[in-house]
């Protein structure tokens, strides 16, 4: 039996915040009471890829148990209720009243406490990062706390009997490596990014979606871990406006100002 654990986050859909609320937002950000709660994009991909791994193990004749683990999801029943129907065996919500925004160490610590309290997982998946406050650091701290090697920005996982082939993005392209379990993987721009959807019949046939709510004692960081260095990623983008009158003008602009410069 293989044990797979997916860590995910339920967040507010910032695309739905009213412009007036952005304008009036104070230090705590805009009013989010009315906006839709959604799965973080990368976390949704992590869940789907965990299900694909489970499917692949089943095809190999190997049983797999999938736990979906989240911390303080808030209003999320409409998301969690279908997990059992798509193949998640156990959904666990760690509950806390503490504000864990911008606290990746403490968040990872709480997740690690839960995971280490049960049978050790073979594969742990997590989304690359999830705004707001998406530092991308939680999976990295979690890997350290669990004592697992970490593969970042995975785009696909293909289990075999004795290892798992992981494709992941690196600066120079896509790297394929074969990982022995156990390991942790962050899911980035994966080949499959949407979580599968059950039919109403499948949802009715599935076991009742017993969502476990577990009180989490958030202590401080487990300590002993500090980033060696921190730098701000350069995310600046340049923008050029073509003021041409027609498609021909725009094409000429594109060729002269973008393509030629890139080639030369």
């Amino acid at each position: 039996m293989k044990r797979i654990c997916v860590c995910f986050k339920v967040v507010d859909d910032f695309d739905e915040v009213l412009p007036s609320d952005w304008d009036e937002a104070g230090g705590d950000g805009p009013d989010l009471a009315y906006v839709r709660r959604i799965l973080g994009d990368f976390d949704e991909a992590a869940l789907e890829n965990a299900l694909l791994v489970k499917d692949a193990y089943r095809a190999l004749g190997i049983g797999a148990d999938l736990t979906a683990l989240t911390l303080a999801p808030g209003y999320a029943d409409h998301i969690l209720r279908n997990f059992a129907a798509v193949g998640v065996d156990r959904t666990v919500c760690l509950e806390t009243q503490e504000d864990l925004r911008f606290s990746p160490e403490r968040t990872a610590s709480a997740l690690a406490d839960f995971i280490l309290g049960g049978p050790p997982p073979d594969i742990v998946l997590a989304g690359l990062m999830t705004p707001p406050g998406g530092s991308g650091a939680v999976p990295l701290f979690l890997a350290e706390y669990l004592g697992l090697p970490c593969v970042t920005e995975a785009i696909s996982l293909t289990p075999a009997r004795d290892c798992v082939a992981v494709e992941h993005r690196v600066d120079s392209g896509i790297c394929r490596r074969e990982m022995l379990t156990a390991f942790l993987c962050t899911i980035g721009n994966a080949r499959r990014s949407y979580l599968r959807v059950p039919t109403l019949r499948e949802a009715l046939r599935a076991p009742a979606p017993a969502i476990e709510h577990v009180e989490s004692k958030i202590a401080g960081s487990r300590g002993g871990l500090k980033p060696l260095s921190v730098r701000r990623e350069d995310r600046r983008r340049d923008c050029l406006f073509s003021e041409g009158a027609d498609a021909s003008d725009h094409a000429a602009f594109l060729y002269e100002r973008v393509i030629k410069e890139a080639l030369l």
Binding site: V35, R36, E48, Y194, V197, L200, R201
Partner: protein
């Protein structure tokens, strides 16, 4: 010479080469229509494609084209905005051309003394609305498809807008129109405030779905616009039925909200999401428009009615959220973003709108919600909302998602769903199978049951106006 070469050659000679598009790439995407986009996401090429697209720049060009098609038994599908929800634009044979009225996009006249605007069929109503708003007026017609919609298509499909409870549907707005008959003869119905000169001939064109005439120009009412005075109120009610009772009370007491919407929990959770509901709770909201004094007075009364049904007032944020997102679906239709989601999830989201009197609409909603999951195994979600209310009844918009199978036959799942809803609705004497999307080819198979003994009138109209059945065969009236 094949039919395509002959038709393209002849029409090029009649209209000039600049008016004809015939390359195969354009023909493959000529009918970008709702459920068919699902198949296209998988690279499926439509079985039948148009011979060519005529880009008609004037009523005269439409007339010449129709005369040619009538003489040569070429079938014609009219289009302006190039989208349709009920397979109106589906090509079902190999002798069809599109007449595309989008080049006829001129606002002919804005007459603020007589409060009408005249616009050609291809006029995008978003642009027209923006133009009117700049001068303090509004069309009062704002369908969800506003960013895509053109005047001709809205009239042809008997559209309604999200503010219809105050302004009315398109049939209440059209004062006059010009059109071309299948034999190429142009006709005009002069715009007047009211007429008692026999049956209202406007209604032969309104809702004709391209099966009777080609609409070239429309004159519609306009209204003074008071956006800053709008009253809004959002409420949570115990359940959908309680919400229906509250909405009915507002309407029958004579108040005139512009938007009345009531969502069940499944719809809110799946598509809307701005209100966190518990158990069977439902979300409803109202807006009131008009000059000073009207919104406050009607709003205050509506508020009291809502509270009398035990509603919890939740302010206006959720209403503002609806205004922010109400047309967002148009941003992704037919885009790669939508295609990727189709390919990964195999899920297609759609809607179906029906209408009935107050006395039966609740029963219909209940029966549909109970029976549809049993008969449609592909259902992934099913919810509903009310969005257009009247003195005597209201609509229900069934919102659903289907897990599709083979892309080439995926549309059959939607057809089965539509049929199953029709099976429910047609059992009720005060109900109709279609509220505002039109019949298209998707619901044409049920039009006889819908119209009952009056179907013969529709058949006679078709036979007398379009004896050769060249106008969108299979749309509105089934073949055979």
């Amino acid at each position: 010479m094949g039919l395509k070469e002959k038709t393209v050659g002849d029409l090029t000679e009649i209209l000039g080469p600049e008016s004809i598009i015939s390359d195969d790439g354009a023909m493959r995407i000529a009918d970008p229509i709702m459920v068919r986009t699902y198949a296209k996401a998988f690279g499926y090429v439509p079985e039948h494609r148009p011979l060519c697209i005529v880009k008609a720049a004037s009523a005269e060009q439409v007339s010449k084209t129709l005369r040619y098609c009538s003489d040569n038994d070429i079938h014609v599908i009219a289009r302006t905005g190039a989208s349709s929800s009920e397979d109106q634009l589906l090509v079902i044979d190999d002798r069809t051309i599109f007449i595309d009225g989008s080049p006829m996009n001129r606002i002919v006249d804005i007459d603020t003394e007589n409060m009408v605007v005249t616009a050609q069929c291809g006029t995008p109503i978003a642009a027209l609305e923006e133009r009117l708003n700049a001068d303090g007026y509004t069309l009062g017609h704002a369908p969800q498809s506003l960013p895509l919609a053109s005047m001709g298509g809205l009239v042809a499909t008997r559209s309604t807008g999200q503010f219809s409870t105050y302004y009315g549907g398109i049939e209440d707005l059209v004062c006059g129109l010009e059109a071309v008959l299948p034999n190429g003869e142009p006709i005009a119905i002069r715009p007047v405030p009211r007429r008692a000169a026999g049956p209202d001939l406007r209604h032969i064109a309104i809702g004709s779905e391209g099966a009777l005439v080609f609409i070239t120009e429309v004159t519609v009412k306009i209204f003074k616009w008071y956006p800053d005075l709008m009253w809004k109120g959002g409420y949570i009610v115990e359940n959908f039925k309680t919400g229906l009772a509250a909405v009915r009370d507002v309407m029958v007491k004579g108040y005139k909200p512009s938007v009345v919407r009531l969502y069940d929990k499944a719809d809110v959770d799946h598509n809307y999401g701005s209100v966190k509901l518990k158990n069977e709770e439902a979300f409803m909201f109202f807006t009131v428009e008009g000059p000073g004094g009207v919104p406050e007075a009607h709003g205050a009364a509506i508020h009291q009615i809502a509270l009398s049904y035990g509603a919890e007032h939740i302010g206006v944020k959720a209403v503002d959220h609806w205004f922010l997102t109400r047309n967002r679906i148009c941003d992704t239709i037919g885009t790669e973003k939508e295609y990727v989601k189709f390919r990964e999830t195999n899920v297609y989201n759609a809607t179906l709108e029906i209408c009935a009197n107050w006395g039966q609409i609740g029963e219909i909603y209940d029966e549909a919600m109970r029976t549809l999951p049993e008969v449609i195994p592909e259902l992934v979600m099913l919810g509903g909302h009310v969005s257009h209310s009247y003195m005597n009844g209201t609509n229900v918009y069934f919102v659903y998602a289907l897990k599709m199978g083979d892309p080439a036959s995926a549309h059959l799942a939607q057809y089965r769903f539509v049929d199953a809803v029709c099976d429910v609705v047609l059992k009720y004497s005060s109900a109709t199978i279609v509220h505002h999307h039109g019949v298209g080819k998707m619901r044409a198979g049920r039009i006889r049951e819908e119209l009952g003994s009056s179907f013969t009138l529709l058949e006679m109209l078709k036979q007398s106006i379009d004896p050769g059945n060249i106008m969108n065969p299979g749309c509105l009236i089934p073949i055979g």
